[in-house]
Amino acid sequence: MKIAVCVKAVPDTETKIVLNSDKTNIETNQVKFITSPYDEFAIEEALKIKEANSGTTVTAISMGSNEAKDVLRDSLARGVDEAIHINVDKPLDFSPLTTGKILAKSLSLDSYDIILCGQQGVGTDHSQVPAILAQLLNITQATFIVKLTLKENNTFLAEREIEGSHEIVSGKLPAVFSAQKGLNEPRYPSIKGVMAARKKEIKTLDLTSLNVAEEVSKTNSLVKLKALCLPQNKTSSKNIEGDPDQQVKALVDLLRQEAKVL
Protein backbone atom coordinates (compact mmCIF):
# COMPACT_ATOMS: atom_id res chain seq x y z
CA MET A 1 0.00 0.00 0.00
CA LYS A 2 1.16 3.54 -0.75
CA ILE A 3 0.24 6.43 1.49
CA ALA A 4 0.85 10.14 0.93
CA VAL A 5 0.63 12.68 3.71
CA CYS A 6 0.33 16.36 2.83
CA VAL A 7 2.01 18.51 5.44
CA LYS A 8 2.14 22.27 5.80
CA ALA A 9 4.58 24.58 7.54
CA VAL A 10 2.62 27.15 9.53
CA PRO A 11 3.64 29.93 11.92
CA ASP A 12 3.88 28.65 15.48
CA THR A 13 0.47 29.14 17.08
CA GLU A 14 2.08 31.22 19.86
CA THR A 15 3.46 33.71 17.32
CA LYS A 16 2.56 37.34 17.62
CA ILE A 17 1.29 38.33 14.21
CA VAL A 18 3.00 41.36 12.67
CA LEU A 19 1.92 42.63 9.26
CA ASN A 20 4.40 43.38 6.51
CA SER A 21 4.79 46.90 5.15
CA ASP A 22 2.12 46.70 2.44
CA LYS A 23 -0.31 44.94 4.82
CA THR A 24 -0.98 42.06 2.46
CA ASN A 25 0.78 39.43 4.45
CA ILE A 26 2.44 38.63 7.72
CA GLU A 27 6.06 39.41 8.44
CA THR A 28 7.70 35.99 8.31
CA ASN A 29 11.30 36.89 9.12
CA GLN A 30 11.03 36.41 12.86
CA VAL A 31 8.43 33.67 12.71
CA LYS A 32 9.12 30.12 13.81
CA PHE A 33 7.42 27.59 11.55
CA ILE A 34 6.02 24.29 12.77
CA THR A 35 4.14 21.35 11.28
CA SER A 36 0.47 22.33 11.23
CA PRO A 37 -1.00 20.60 14.33
CA TYR A 38 -3.69 18.70 12.38
CA ASP A 39 -1.04 17.37 10.00
CA GLU A 40 0.60 15.64 12.97
CA PHE A 41 -2.54 13.50 13.30
CA ALA A 42 -2.34 12.71 9.57
CA ILE A 43 1.32 11.64 9.84
CA GLU A 44 0.60 9.51 12.91
CA GLU A 45 -2.30 7.76 11.21
CA ALA A 46 -0.13 6.97 8.17
CA LEU A 47 2.56 5.52 10.42
CA LYS A 48 0.02 3.41 12.30
CA ILE A 49 -1.30 1.99 9.01
CA LYS A 50 2.28 1.28 7.90
CA GLU A 51 3.01 -0.56 11.13
CA ALA A 52 -0.11 -2.70 10.74
CA ASN A 53 0.39 -3.45 7.03
CA SER A 54 3.80 -4.65 5.91
CA GLY A 55 5.03 -3.40 2.57
CA THR A 56 3.43 0.01 3.09
CA THR A 57 5.39 3.14 2.23
CA VAL A 58 4.59 6.61 3.49
CA THR A 59 5.53 9.72 1.51
CA ALA A 60 5.29 13.20 2.99
CA ILE A 61 4.69 16.08 0.58
CA SER A 62 4.97 19.75 1.40
CA MET A 63 4.71 22.90 -0.69
CA GLY A 64 6.56 26.01 0.37
CA SER A 65 10.01 27.54 0.60
CA ASN A 66 12.69 26.53 3.09
CA GLU A 67 10.28 26.20 6.02
CA ALA A 68 8.55 23.36 4.14
CA LYS A 69 11.85 21.49 4.08
CA ASP A 70 12.17 21.77 7.87
CA VAL A 71 8.68 20.36 8.26
CA LEU A 72 9.57 17.47 5.95
CA ARG A 73 12.62 16.72 8.11
CA ASP A 74 10.24 16.56 11.06
CA SER A 75 8.01 14.10 9.15
CA LEU A 76 11.05 11.96 8.26
CA ALA A 77 12.15 12.01 11.91
CA ARG A 78 8.74 10.68 12.94
CA GLY A 79 9.19 7.76 10.54
CA VAL A 80 7.86 8.53 7.06
CA ASP A 81 9.86 6.83 4.30
CA GLU A 82 10.17 9.54 1.67
CA ALA A 83 9.76 13.28 1.43
CA ILE A 84 8.89 15.48 -1.54
CA HIS A 85 9.41 19.22 -1.38
CA ILE A 86 7.54 21.38 -3.88
CA ASN A 87 9.65 24.49 -3.83
CA VAL A 88 7.63 27.70 -4.29
CA ASP A 89 8.14 31.27 -3.20
CA LYS A 90 5.47 32.99 -1.10
CA PRO A 91 3.18 29.98 -0.57
CA LEU A 92 1.02 32.18 1.68
CA ASP A 93 -0.17 34.01 -1.44
CA PHE A 94 -1.68 30.84 -2.90
CA SER A 95 -5.38 30.15 -2.60
CA PRO A 96 -6.50 26.65 -1.55
CA LEU A 97 -7.51 25.95 -5.15
CA THR A 98 -4.01 26.82 -6.40
CA THR A 99 -2.38 24.78 -3.64
CA GLY A 100 -4.72 21.90 -4.40
CA LYS A 101 -3.82 21.96 -8.11
CA ILE A 102 -0.10 21.87 -7.37
CA LEU A 103 -0.41 19.09 -4.79
CA ALA A 104 -2.76 17.08 -7.01
CA LYS A 105 -0.25 17.26 -9.85
CA SER A 106 2.53 15.96 -7.64
CA LEU A 107 0.27 13.23 -6.18
CA SER A 108 -0.74 12.11 -9.67
CA LEU A 109 2.90 11.23 -10.42
CA ASP A 110 2.46 8.14 -8.28
CA SER A 111 -0.56 6.02 -7.43
CA TYR A 112 -1.46 6.36 -3.78
CA ASP A 113 -4.13 4.27 -2.06
CA ILE A 114 -4.51 6.70 0.80
CA ILE A 115 -3.92 10.44 0.95
CA LEU A 116 -3.97 11.92 4.43
CA CYS A 117 -4.14 15.63 5.28
CA GLY A 118 -4.84 17.67 8.37
CA GLN A 119 -8.41 18.97 8.34
CA GLN A 120 -7.10 22.52 8.10
CA GLY A 121 -3.82 24.35 7.89
CA VAL A 122 -3.57 26.30 11.09
CA GLY A 123 -3.17 29.98 10.23
CA THR A 124 -5.18 30.50 7.08
CA ASP A 125 -7.74 27.96 8.35
CA HIS A 126 -9.34 27.35 4.96
CA SER A 127 -10.10 23.67 5.51
CA GLN A 128 -10.39 23.10 1.77
CA VAL A 129 -7.36 21.35 0.31
CA PRO A 130 -8.43 17.75 1.17
CA ALA A 131 -11.76 18.10 -0.68
CA ILE A 132 -10.06 19.90 -3.57
CA LEU A 133 -7.59 17.00 -3.89
CA ALA A 134 -10.39 14.42 -3.89
CA GLN A 135 -12.13 16.32 -6.70
CA LEU A 136 -8.99 16.86 -8.80
CA LEU A 137 -7.76 13.29 -8.38
CA ASN A 138 -11.29 11.97 -8.92
CA ILE A 139 -11.27 9.82 -5.80
CA THR A 140 -13.53 9.69 -2.78
CA GLN A 141 -13.10 11.47 0.53
CA ALA A 142 -13.92 11.38 4.21
CA THR A 143 -13.20 14.64 6.02
CA PHE A 144 -12.80 15.52 9.72
CA ILE A 145 -12.17 11.91 10.68
CA VAL A 146 -11.54 10.80 14.26
CA LYS A 147 -11.26 7.08 13.47
CA LEU A 148 -10.18 5.10 10.43
CA THR A 149 -10.52 1.34 9.93
CA LEU A 150 -9.26 -0.36 6.79
CA LYS A 151 -11.34 -3.36 5.73
CA GLU A 152 -10.91 -6.11 3.17
CA ASN A 153 -11.33 -5.49 -0.57
CA ASN A 154 -9.90 -1.97 -0.36
CA THR A 155 -12.80 -0.63 1.64
CA PHE A 156 -12.77 1.54 4.75
CA LEU A 157 -14.91 2.73 7.60
CA ALA A 158 -14.20 6.25 8.82
CA GLU A 159 -15.80 8.07 11.71
CA ARG A 160 -16.19 11.78 11.10
CA GLU A 161 -16.93 14.39 13.72
CA ILE A 162 -19.83 16.66 12.89
CA GLU A 163 -21.88 19.05 15.03
CA GLY A 164 -23.21 17.09 18.00
CA SER A 165 -22.71 13.68 16.33
CA HIS A 166 -20.32 11.30 14.68
CA GLU A 167 -20.99 9.88 11.23
CA ILE A 168 -19.72 6.50 10.09
CA VAL A 169 -18.65 6.73 6.46
CA SER A 170 -18.19 3.59 4.41
CA GLY A 171 -16.25 3.78 1.17
CA LYS A 172 -13.70 2.44 -1.24
CA LEU A 173 -10.02 3.26 -1.59
CA PRO A 174 -8.28 5.19 -3.03
CA ALA A 175 -9.45 8.03 -0.85
CA VAL A 176 -8.49 11.34 0.71
CA PHE A 177 -8.89 11.60 4.47
CA SER A 178 -8.65 14.76 6.54
CA ALA A 179 -7.60 14.29 10.15
CA GLN A 180 -9.47 15.90 13.03
CA LYS A 181 -8.12 16.15 16.56
CA GLY A 182 -8.92 12.92 18.38
CA LEU A 183 -7.85 10.61 15.52
CA ASN A 184 -4.77 9.50 17.48
CA GLU A 185 -1.99 10.68 19.77
CA PRO A 186 0.89 11.88 17.58
CA ARG A 187 4.32 10.52 18.50
CA TYR A 188 7.28 12.79 19.01
CA PRO A 189 10.30 12.24 16.79
CA SER A 190 12.94 10.12 18.56
CA ILE A 191 16.57 11.30 18.78
CA LYS A 192 17.47 8.38 16.54
CA GLY A 193 14.76 9.43 14.11
CA VAL A 194 16.00 13.00 14.06
CA MET A 195 19.57 11.84 13.35
CA ALA A 196 18.43 9.49 10.58
CA ALA A 197 16.22 12.17 9.04
CA ARG A 198 19.21 14.47 8.54
CA LYS A 199 20.78 11.99 6.17
CA LYS A 200 17.64 11.21 4.18
CA GLU A 201 17.22 12.75 0.79
CA ILE A 202 14.35 15.15 0.14
CA LYS A 203 13.19 15.09 -3.46
CA THR A 204 12.60 18.58 -4.83
CA LEU A 205 10.04 19.60 -7.42
CA ASP A 206 8.90 23.01 -8.55
CA LEU A 207 6.14 24.53 -10.63
CA THR A 208 8.17 24.21 -13.83
CA SER A 209 9.09 20.56 -13.31
CA LEU A 210 5.44 19.85 -12.44
CA ASN A 211 4.37 21.77 -15.55
CA VAL A 212 1.77 23.77 -13.63
CA ALA A 213 3.23 27.29 -13.75
CA GLU A 214 0.71 28.59 -16.28
CA GLU A 215 -2.26 26.98 -14.54
CA VAL A 216 -1.09 28.43 -11.22
CA SER A 217 -0.96 31.97 -12.53
CA LYS A 218 -4.42 31.58 -14.10
CA THR A 219 -5.90 30.19 -10.89
CA ASN A 220 -4.19 32.81 -8.74
CA SER A 221 -5.90 35.53 -10.77
CA LEU A 222 -9.34 34.42 -9.51
CA VAL A 223 -8.70 35.61 -5.99
CA LYS A 224 -6.45 38.25 -4.49
CA LEU A 225 -5.60 38.90 -0.88
CA LYS A 226 -6.33 42.63 -0.73
CA ALA A 227 -5.35 43.28 2.84
CA LEU A 228 -4.73 41.80 6.22
CA CYS A 229 -5.90 43.84 9.16
CA LEU A 230 -5.62 43.38 12.86
CA PRO A 231 -9.00 43.27 14.58
CA GLN A 232 -9.75 46.08 16.98
CA ASN A 233 -9.59 45.26 20.63
CA LYS A 234 -12.77 45.40 22.65
CA THR A 235 -13.40 49.04 23.40
CA SER A 236 -13.42 48.78 27.14
CA SER A 237 -13.64 46.13 29.74
CA LYS A 238 -15.72 46.75 32.83
CA ASN A 239 -14.37 45.31 36.03
CA ILE A 240 -17.19 44.27 38.32
CA GLU A 241 -16.20 44.57 41.95
CA GLY A 242 -17.75 43.74 45.31
CA ASP A 243 -18.55 40.53 47.16
CA PRO A 244 -19.89 37.61 45.09
CA ASP A 245 -23.53 38.59 45.66
CA GLN A 246 -22.90 42.16 44.57
CA GLN A 247 -20.82 41.04 41.59
CA VAL A 248 -23.52 38.70 40.33
CA LYS A 249 -26.29 41.30 40.77
CA ALA A 250 -24.22 43.94 38.95
CA LEU A 251 -23.31 41.51 36.18
CA VAL A 252 -26.90 40.45 35.55
CA ASP A 253 -27.99 44.12 35.48
CA LEU A 254 -25.29 44.99 32.95
CA LEU A 255 -26.14 41.98 30.76
CA ARG A 256 -29.80 43.04 30.75
CA GLN A 257 -29.67 46.83 30.65
CA GLU A 258 -26.42 47.65 28.89
CA ALA A 259 -25.49 44.65 26.74
CA LYS A 260 -29.13 43.60 26.29
CA VAL A 261 -28.23 39.95 25.84
CA LEU A 262 -30.49 38.50 28.54
Binding site: Y38, A131, E163, I168, K226, L230, P244, L251
Partner: protein, 319 residues
Protein backbone atom coordinates in the same frame (compact mmCIF):
# COMPACT_ATOMS: atom_id res chain seq x y z
CA UNK B 1 -26.62 38.43 -9.66
CA UNK B 2 -27.94 34.88 -9.26
CA UNK B 3 -27.40 33.57 -5.76
CA UNK B 4 -27.93 29.93 -4.87
CA UNK B 5 -28.28 29.17 -1.16
CA UNK B 6 -27.73 25.63 0.06
CA UNK B 7 -30.24 25.09 2.87
CA UNK B 8 -28.85 22.48 5.22
CA UNK B 9 -31.20 20.02 6.87
CA UNK B 10 -30.19 18.19 10.04
CA UNK B 11 -32.50 15.87 11.98
CA UNK B 12 -35.42 16.98 9.80
CA UNK B 13 -34.85 20.62 10.66
CA UNK B 14 -33.52 23.52 8.66
CA UNK B 15 -30.38 24.89 10.24
CA UNK B 16 -30.61 28.41 11.55
CA UNK B 17 -27.28 29.36 9.98
CA UNK B 18 -28.64 28.43 6.53
CA UNK B 19 -31.48 30.92 7.04
CA UNK B 20 -28.91 33.59 7.88
CA UNK B 21 -27.26 32.94 4.51
CA UNK B 22 -30.68 33.03 2.83
CA UNK B 23 -31.53 36.36 4.51
CA UNK B 24 -28.27 37.83 3.29
CA UNK B 25 -28.98 36.71 -0.29
CA UNK B 26 -32.49 38.17 -0.27
CA UNK B 27 -31.24 41.55 0.97
CA UNK B 28 -28.97 41.86 -2.08
CA UNK B 29 -31.96 42.20 -4.45
CA UNK B 30 -30.58 39.20 -6.23
CA UNK B 31 -32.32 36.39 -8.03
CA UNK B 32 -32.37 33.87 -5.17
CA UNK B 33 -32.58 30.11 -5.59
CA UNK B 34 -32.62 27.71 -2.65
CA UNK B 35 -31.68 24.03 -2.63
CA UNK B 36 -32.64 21.52 0.02
CA UNK B 37 -31.09 18.06 -0.02
CA UNK B 38 -32.44 15.24 2.14
CA UNK B 39 -35.70 13.39 2.63
CA UNK B 40 -39.28 14.36 3.55
CA UNK B 41 -38.38 17.85 2.40
CA UNK B 42 -41.83 18.98 1.33
CA UNK B 43 -42.99 19.55 4.89
CA UNK B 44 -39.93 21.72 5.55
CA UNK B 45 -40.72 24.14 2.74
CA UNK B 46 -43.45 25.73 4.88
CA UNK B 47 -40.63 27.16 7.02
CA UNK B 48 -39.28 28.91 3.92
CA UNK B 49 -42.56 30.70 3.16
CA UNK B 50 -41.36 33.65 5.25
CA UNK B 51 -38.55 34.20 2.74
CA UNK B 52 -38.98 35.61 -0.75
CA UNK B 53 -37.25 33.01 -2.91
CA UNK B 54 -37.46 32.93 -6.70
CA UNK B 55 -37.24 29.16 -6.83
CA UNK B 56 -36.81 26.32 -4.37
CA UNK B 57 -35.34 23.04 -5.60
CA UNK B 58 -35.75 19.85 -3.60
CA UNK B 59 -33.36 16.92 -3.94
CA UNK B 60 -35.57 14.55 -2.01
CA UNK B 61 -35.30 10.89 -0.96
CA UNK B 62 -31.62 11.16 0.00
CA UNK B 63 -31.54 9.63 3.47
CA UNK B 64 -27.82 9.74 4.25
CA UNK B 65 -25.05 12.15 3.41
CA UNK B 66 -22.72 11.13 0.60
CA UNK B 67 -20.31 13.64 -0.92
CA UNK B 68 -20.92 12.28 -4.44
CA UNK B 69 -24.72 12.43 -4.24
CA UNK B 70 -24.89 15.87 -2.66
CA UNK B 71 -22.30 17.14 -5.15
CA UNK B 72 -24.42 15.91 -8.07
CA UNK B 73 -27.52 17.66 -6.74
CA UNK B 74 -25.70 20.91 -5.99
CA UNK B 75 -23.89 20.93 -9.35
CA UNK B 76 -27.15 20.38 -11.20
CA UNK B 77 -28.84 23.34 -9.47
CA UNK B 78 -25.81 25.59 -10.00
CA UNK B 79 -26.29 24.98 -13.72
CA UNK B 80 -30.11 25.25 -13.64
CA UNK B 81 -29.99 28.57 -11.77
CA UNK B 82 -26.96 29.98 -13.64
CA UNK B 83 -25.56 30.82 -10.22
CA UNK B 84 -22.80 33.42 -9.82
CA UNK B 85 -22.60 32.93 -6.10
CA UNK B 86 -23.25 29.87 -3.95
CA UNK B 87 -23.82 30.52 -0.24
CA UNK B 88 -23.92 27.98 2.58
CA UNK B 89 -23.51 27.97 6.33
CA UNK B 90 -20.00 27.17 7.53
CA UNK B 91 -20.65 23.68 8.92
CA UNK B 92 -18.96 20.30 8.74
CA UNK B 93 -21.28 19.35 5.89
CA UNK B 94 -20.49 22.40 3.79
CA UNK B 95 -16.77 22.15 4.51
CA UNK B 96 -16.90 18.63 3.04
CA UNK B 97 -19.09 19.55 0.08
CA UNK B 98 -18.42 23.15 -0.98
CA UNK B 99 -14.67 22.99 -1.84
CA UNK B 100 -15.32 19.65 -3.58
CA UNK B 101 -18.02 21.12 -5.83
CA UNK B 102 -16.32 24.51 -6.31
CA UNK B 103 -13.25 22.73 -7.67
CA UNK B 104 -15.37 20.86 -10.21
CA UNK B 105 -16.35 24.31 -11.55
CA UNK B 106 -12.76 25.58 -11.28
CA UNK B 107 -14.16 28.19 -8.92
CA UNK B 108 -12.84 29.76 -5.73
CA UNK B 109 -14.39 28.99 -2.35
CA UNK B 110 -13.82 30.94 0.85
CA UNK B 111 -14.84 29.36 4.15
CA UNK B 112 -15.83 30.91 7.48
CA UNK B 113 -16.73 34.29 5.99
CA UNK B 114 -17.66 37.03 8.49
CA UNK B 115 -18.20 39.92 6.09
CA UNK B 116 -19.27 40.07 2.48
CA UNK B 117 -19.69 42.98 0.09
CA UNK B 118 -21.00 42.41 -3.39
CA UNK B 119 -19.37 44.95 -5.71
CA UNK B 120 -20.13 45.54 -9.37
CA UNK B 121 -17.44 43.22 -10.75
CA UNK B 122 -16.16 41.42 -7.73
CA UNK B 123 -16.82 40.19 -4.22
CA UNK B 124 -15.04 41.53 -1.18
CA UNK B 125 -14.89 38.83 1.43
CA UNK B 126 -13.49 38.94 4.98
CA UNK B 127 -12.42 35.91 6.94
CA UNK B 128 -10.47 35.62 10.22
CA UNK B 129 -6.98 34.10 9.90
CA UNK B 130 -4.09 33.34 12.25
CA UNK B 131 -6.34 32.34 15.12
CA UNK B 132 -8.44 35.47 14.66
CA UNK B 133 -5.32 37.54 15.30
CA UNK B 134 -5.95 39.07 11.87
CA UNK B 135 -8.70 39.42 9.29
CA UNK B 136 -7.96 38.69 5.64
CA UNK B 137 -9.88 40.61 2.99
CA UNK B 138 -10.05 38.78 -0.32
CA UNK B 139 -11.18 40.09 -3.68
CA UNK B 140 -12.86 37.43 -5.80
CA UNK B 141 -13.15 38.13 -9.50
CA UNK B 142 -14.28 34.81 -11.00
CA UNK B 143 -17.71 34.45 -12.63
CA UNK B 144 -18.77 31.89 -9.99
CA UNK B 145 -17.75 31.86 -6.34
CA UNK B 146 -18.61 29.78 -3.29
CA UNK B 147 -18.77 31.10 0.26
CA UNK B 148 -19.56 29.51 3.60
CA UNK B 149 -20.77 32.01 6.18
CA UNK B 150 -19.90 31.80 9.86
CA UNK B 151 -23.05 31.10 11.92
CA UNK B 152 -24.43 33.89 14.17
CA UNK B 153 -22.64 36.65 12.26
CA UNK B 154 -25.14 37.46 9.51
CA UNK B 155 -28.55 38.43 10.86
CA UNK B 156 -31.76 36.72 9.94
CA UNK B 157 -34.34 39.28 8.90
CA UNK B 158 -37.96 38.65 8.10
CA UNK B 159 -40.46 40.98 6.45
CA UNK B 160 -43.39 39.33 8.21
CA UNK B 161 -44.94 38.48 4.85
CA UNK B 162 -45.74 35.01 3.60
CA UNK B 163 -44.66 34.19 0.07
CA UNK B 164 -45.89 31.61 -2.43
CA UNK B 165 -42.52 30.33 -3.55
CA UNK B 166 -42.17 28.09 -6.57
CA UNK B 167 -41.02 24.62 -5.60
CA UNK B 168 -39.57 22.06 -7.98
CA UNK B 169 -38.46 18.51 -7.34
CA UNK B 170 -35.18 17.61 -8.96
CA UNK B 171 -35.15 14.53 -11.09
CA UNK B 172 -31.60 13.23 -11.01
CA UNK B 173 -30.34 9.71 -11.58
CA UNK B 174 -27.65 9.45 -8.96
CA UNK B 175 -24.61 7.25 -9.43
CA UNK B 176 -23.69 4.84 -6.67
CA UNK B 177 -21.63 7.02 -4.28
CA UNK B 178 -18.02 5.95 -3.68
CA UNK B 179 -18.43 6.72 0.01
CA UNK B 180 -21.47 7.42 2.13
CA UNK B 181 -22.65 7.81 5.69
CA UNK B 182 -24.08 4.52 6.91
CA UNK B 183 -24.76 5.47 10.53
CA UNK B 184 -24.98 8.58 12.69
CA UNK B 185 -24.08 8.33 16.35
CA UNK B 186 -25.28 11.08 18.65
CA UNK B 187 -22.39 11.92 20.93
CA UNK B 188 -23.98 13.59 23.89
CA UNK B 189 -25.32 17.08 23.78
CA UNK B 190 -27.88 17.33 21.02
CA UNK B 191 -29.77 20.17 22.65
CA UNK B 192 -27.69 23.02 21.29
CA UNK B 193 -25.00 23.05 18.66
CA UNK B 194 -21.98 25.00 19.86
CA UNK B 195 -21.24 26.93 16.66
CA UNK B 196 -24.85 28.11 16.32
CA UNK B 197 -25.68 28.74 19.97
CA UNK B 198 -26.64 32.32 20.90
CA UNK B 199 -25.16 31.88 24.39
CA UNK B 200 -22.20 29.72 25.43
CA UNK B 201 -20.98 28.91 28.93
CA UNK B 202 -17.45 27.57 28.81
CA UNK B 203 -15.28 25.98 31.49
CA UNK B 204 -11.53 25.67 31.97
CA UNK B 205 -9.00 24.35 34.43
CA UNK B 206 -10.41 26.62 37.15
CA UNK B 207 -13.25 24.10 37.49
CA UNK B 208 -10.74 21.77 39.15
CA UNK B 209 -12.50 18.48 38.25
CA UNK B 210 -14.62 16.89 35.52
CA UNK B 211 -17.69 16.55 37.74
CA UNK B 212 -17.83 20.31 38.28
CA UNK B 213 -19.00 20.75 34.69
CA UNK B 214 -22.42 19.84 36.13
CA UNK B 215 -22.42 23.27 37.77
CA UNK B 216 -21.90 24.90 34.34
CA UNK B 217 -24.58 22.69 32.82
CA UNK B 218 -27.04 24.11 35.38
CA UNK B 219 -26.18 27.62 34.24
CA UNK B 220 -26.53 26.50 30.60
CA UNK B 221 -29.97 25.10 31.36
CA UNK B 222 -31.35 28.34 32.83
CA UNK B 223 -29.80 30.40 30.03
CA UNK B 224 -30.68 28.06 27.18
CA UNK B 225 -26.96 28.05 26.45
CA UNK B 226 -24.56 25.52 24.96
CA UNK B 227 -21.67 24.14 27.00
CA UNK B 228 -18.08 24.74 25.89
CA UNK B 229 -14.62 23.97 27.22
CA UNK B 230 -10.99 25.00 26.94
CA UNK B 231 -8.35 22.80 25.39
CA UNK B 232 -6.69 22.18 28.75
CA UNK B 233 -9.71 20.35 30.16
CA UNK B 234 -10.34 18.45 26.92
CA UNK B 235 -6.73 17.25 26.94
CA UNK B 236 -7.13 16.33 30.62
CA UNK B 237 -10.02 14.09 29.60
CA UNK B 238 -12.66 15.94 31.64
CA UNK B 239 -14.92 16.48 28.64
CA UNK B 240 -14.92 15.35 25.01
CA UNK B 241 -13.35 17.23 22.11
CA UNK B 242 -16.65 18.24 20.54
CA UNK B 243 -17.06 20.80 23.35
CA UNK B 244 -13.66 22.40 22.74
CA UNK B 245 -13.64 26.06 21.76
CA UNK B 246 -10.46 27.42 20.21
CA UNK B 247 -7.79 26.68 17.72
CA UNK B 248 -8.04 22.89 17.56
CA UNK B 249 -11.72 23.01 18.45
CA UNK B 250 -14.66 25.11 17.34
CA UNK B 251 -14.81 28.76 16.42
CA UNK B 252 -17.86 30.45 17.86
CA UNK B 253 -19.47 33.90 17.68
CA UNK B 254 -22.36 33.88 20.15
CA UNK B 255 -24.18 36.94 21.50
CA UNK B 256 -22.88 36.09 24.95
CA UNK B 257 -19.85 34.01 25.93
CA UNK B 258 -19.29 33.28 29.62
CA UNK B 259 -15.76 31.99 30.31
CA UNK B 260 -15.56 30.29 33.71
CA UNK B 261 -12.14 29.49 35.13
CA UNK B 262 -10.50 29.93 31.71
CA UNK B 263 -7.15 31.73 31.69
CA UNK B 264 -7.42 32.71 28.03
CA UNK B 265 -4.57 31.06 26.16
CA UNK B 266 -4.13 32.53 22.69
CA UNK B 267 -5.48 29.30 21.18
CA UNK B 268 -8.70 29.64 23.17
CA UNK B 269 -9.10 33.33 22.34
CA UNK B 270 -8.83 32.35 18.67
CA UNK B 271 -12.09 30.48 18.92
CA UNK B 272 -14.23 32.95 20.82
CA UNK B 273 -12.86 36.50 20.64
CA UNK B 274 -15.45 37.49 18.02
CA UNK B 275 -18.28 36.86 20.52
CA UNK B 276 -20.39 39.99 20.92
CA UNK B 277 -20.31 40.11 24.72
CA UNK B 278 -17.69 38.25 26.75
CA UNK B 279 -17.97 37.68 30.48
CA UNK B 280 -14.84 36.35 32.19
CA UNK B 281 -14.97 34.83 35.65
CA UNK B 282 -11.55 33.95 37.05
CA UNK B 283 -9.76 34.05 40.40
CA UNK B 284 -6.55 35.34 38.87
CA UNK B 285 -6.83 39.09 38.17
CA UNK B 286 -3.91 38.82 35.72
CA UNK B 287 -5.54 36.12 33.56
CA UNK B 288 -5.20 37.13 29.88
CA UNK B 289 -8.91 36.46 29.30
CA UNK B 290 -9.73 39.72 31.12
CA UNK B 291 -8.06 41.72 28.34
CA UNK B 292 -10.74 40.44 25.97
CA UNK B 293 -13.71 40.52 28.31
CA UNK B 294 -16.58 42.98 28.10
CA UNK B 295 -17.30 42.32 31.78
CA UNK B 296 -14.62 41.05 34.13
CA UNK B 297 -15.50 39.31 37.35
CA UNK B 298 -12.45 38.57 39.48
CA UNK B 299 -13.72 35.86 41.77
CA UNK B 300 -14.07 32.17 42.50
CA UNK B 301 -16.18 30.33 39.91
CA UNK B 302 -17.57 28.14 42.71
CA UNK B 303 -18.95 31.24 44.41
CA UNK B 304 -20.03 33.18 41.32
CA UNK B 305 -21.53 30.55 39.01
CA UNK B 306 -24.16 29.06 41.40
CA UNK B 307 -25.29 32.59 42.38
CA UNK B 308 -25.50 33.55 38.71
CA UNK B 309 -27.60 30.47 37.96
CA UNK B 310 -29.94 31.29 40.84
CA UNK B 311 -30.25 34.96 39.85
CA UNK B 312 -31.03 34.16 36.21
CA UNK B 313 -33.45 31.41 37.18
CA UNK B 314 -35.32 33.88 39.41
CA UNK B 315 -35.38 36.34 36.53
CA UNK B 316 -36.74 33.75 34.11
CA UNK B 317 -39.34 32.53 36.61
CA UNK B 318 -40.62 36.10 37.04
CA UNK B 319 -41.06 36.62 33.30
Amino acid sequence: MNILVLIEVRNNQIRKASLEALSYAIKQNANVTALLIGHNLNELTTHLAKFKINKIYLADTIVNYATDTFAMALSEVIKLSSANLVLAANTSLSKDLIPYVATAFNAVAVTDVVELNILSNSLEVTKPVYSAKANAIYELTGSLNFLTLRPNVFSQELTGQIYQNTIENLNIKYNEPRSQVIETITTGNTQMELSEAPIIVSGGRGLKAAENFAMLQDLCDVLGAALGASRAVVDAGWISHQFQVGQTGKTVSPQLYIACGISGAIQHLAGMSSSKVIVAINKDPDAPIFKHATYSVVGDVFEIVPRLTKEIKALRDNN
